[in-house]
Symmetry: C2
Subunit: 242 residues, 2 copies
DNA sequence: GATTCTATCTCGCTG
DNA sequence: CAGCGAGGTAGAATC
């Protein structure tokens, strides 16, 4: 049972197992040879091959091959699975009604079907995110520069919410855009929009500084910063055991 | 075998199956109760719960719960899996040597282990991507506007490669940024950078137009376009059966 | 529901 | 190898 399966259930038994598992709120996995078609926001075709189909009670469907992090085809949560058997064998259709989206997995052979009553559980606690970096900056403002005083986070501007908003030792406004990893042109674009939005509403544009705080920046990002008169400060995303 | 499993293999049998499957280049899946810890680019902790662990021969590890498209924990391709048994039971470690990254899955109970010789196969053929939209614009330039003549795609600028580069009926340069779905501020940022880069190298900045072509734009994106003197053109991503 | 942004993003491509 | 941008991105937070 826990070794390679040489002959699988026939199509109707597989269908019944899928249906029973899903209606019991269980996770169902199928290994087998199949073709896959998707039509919706785009459309895709996948020729016959050996794959794993993972079906979740929330409507999620994932088709995985032997390589890669990403599923080769999928359906996001919110839809429904419908296993049927036609003259060619087992077909699992996963559809999202709202969006006109359909994933069809047509099995040539089903090597194994497994159902398992997994709980949804709670998500993982993750550390080292951008939110954590923000906390660090708030408790250690000198990470940005000596004399920096944070005044607000997620402060609204016409261009969106600023990560950290504060003042420097000279009383000038400082807008900080945080990135937990190497920052590219997109990060500069964000910072620039926030700074310009505030400068537009200010009588003294020069008193508003923009600071990109990240572990490092790409060259292009550095050039963009220079063009816009913005600054870069190196901050490590997390330290852990140092 | 294809119904709910009430009692699973003991830890050592599970370990042996995982090892045998992986060394044979097969995909291995384990259903069971486990705790998960990840340390690397960030760190995360996941308390005991029922989950599916999917192990691929390329080093990919995916931990899935009963809900959601995304794995609740994972390891990208490129590493190695090492199943061991200690006093508490089966532990699967997936590590990426280059990056200092480790995913540890410690099983309290293993309900089922399955190995399956899936081929990697070839990826799906996808239609309706941005590349397809670009093809449409090249064969039907009037989608942008009457008289538009594409001259190049992926044309290099100091700020990156422009999607479509051409001239309008009046001989002015037109830079087109394509998006297959509703465009936001980031798309305007890209277009803006390309246009400014070209204007900087031009003696006649006004002769360079920037066009964002997408199914629609958000309000903020529209405002940004207006501020920068850029334009919007509505194009549908794909038509299929019309 | 629409908008905006993060992500342990992943992935592919290009220099 | 880095850098840049796409993705059927998904997911969260906010309005």
């Amino acid at each position: 049972m826990d070794a390679t399966v040489r002959s699988g259930p026939d199509a109707e038994r597989a269908r019944a197992t899928v249906e029973a598992g899903l209606s019991a709120g269980e996770v169902v996995s199928l290994f087998g040879r199949c073709r896959v078609t998707y039509d919706g926001r785009a459309s895709s075709r996948l020729e016959t091959g050996d794959r794993l189909l993972l079906l979740k009670p929330d409507g999620t469907a994932l088709v995985h091959t032997a390589a890669g992090h990403q599923p080769v085809n999928w359906q996001p949560p919110g839809g429904e699975h419908e296993p049927t058997v036609d003259s060619e064998g087992l077909v699992v259709a996963s559809t999202r009604s709202g969006a006109e989206e359909t994933l069809l997995v047509r099995f040539e052979t089903v090597a194994q079907v497994t159902r398992y009553p997994a709980d949804e559980g709670s998500g993982p606690t993750v550390e080292g995110t951008e939110a954590d970096l923000k906390e660090r900056v708030l408790t250690e403002p000198e990470l940005i520069e000596a004399g920096f005083e944070p005044r607000a986070t997620e402060r609204d501007t016409p261009a969106g919410a600023v990560d950290v908003y504060g003042v420097d030792a000279d009383g000038r406004t400082v807008i900080v855009e945080l990135k937990r990893r190497r920052a590219g042109p997109d990060a500069v674009g964000q910072l620039r929009r926030y700074v310009e939005a505030l400068r537009r509403d200010s009588h003294d544009a020069a008193s508003i500084r923009g600071v990109l705080a990240a572990p490092s920046v790409t060259n292009q990002a550095r050039e963009l910063l220079a063009e816009e008169g913005l600054e870069f400060v190196a901050v490590e995303p997390s330290v852990e055991g140092t």
